[in-house]
Amino acid sequence: MFGTSEKDKNGGKPCAAMENKLVEYLDGRARPAERRAVEEHLAGCAACNTRAEEFRALWISLDDLPEIVPSREFDASMRARIAAEPARRSFWDWMPSPRFAFAITALVVLSVWLSSGPRVVQSPSEMNQAIQANKISTEKDFGMIQDLPELENYDVISKFDALSELPGPPTTSTEDLKKETR
């Protein structure tokens, strides 16, 4: 905008050694050893010396920047935004309501009671008897299956005496049928 204020001896370029030290030196936060090193450099380098002076002047100029004051609405608006924040839930808020807690507890007790009801405890001899009975029943069922081809044989069934004693099929005349259809 305005260009450099003064032509530096080294063409306006800062000495590389000063880049990380000059600001710290000027604001008074440099360590004693670094401060001495900068002072020695400035004593022998007119360009850096000029720059240091102009940095100081710049900082004074920056102080002229006015401060703005937050508007009157700032605090009220801030309080409203804070008030609108959802309240943080405490540990007790996470606890269920007494009615819900009672229902859950009752359910748990009931399920425990049902699962721990009286069980039929069998002795080894009783268990053997039960196994044997089961085995006999299975053999009987299997025997019936073995006789199945006999039952399916027409000759055997037709000569079966018990079947011959059965009454014959009912005979209906054509006249009776006609009456039924009417």
Partner: protein
Amino acid sequence: MARTDVQLMLDVKAGDEQSFELLLRKYRTPLVNFLYRMVRNSAAAEDLAQEVFLRVYRARQEYAPSAKFTTWMFRIATNLALNSVRDNRHRQMEISIDQTGDNGEDEQPAMEVPDRTPTVEQELVARSRAELIMKAIHALPEKQRAAVLLHKFQEMDYDEIARVLECSESALKSLLFRAYETLRVELAPFVNNSARV
């Protein structure tokens, strides 16, 4: 005995709303000024400052005093300001400080120049000077601008600013040097006059 910021924040964490009020009163003006100089819009700066306080309030339960309170707060503020500038959200409603100087209409209700200049002419000179300084600061790259504002106006330590800007102290010093060098050139008329006095 006055409580430190960390103690106040720990009290807020414990549920003391009054301590948050104290932090708000202490930092609202520096925060609004920092953000105003970052985004160059007073309404946007106030909005962002409120957002910073709101985030601090929301994070109260997770607050751990591992760093200075101001480092934490200005880190939030800087991130919000950089995002705001990059998103260009507030540019359209920006009321430029240099417009007020050109047309004589004061459209900055929050801008209050201290009453050190009794005459209108002196006031105009001061205002014009402030406009040029603001313009030069705003022309800096975002990170350099934040570094200058935190260093010059908030007077934060180098390690604090480095934490806020997430860079090394060495990188920060280099950043500051380049920023002040740019400002020295841009504001040469003020710098030369002052340096020669």
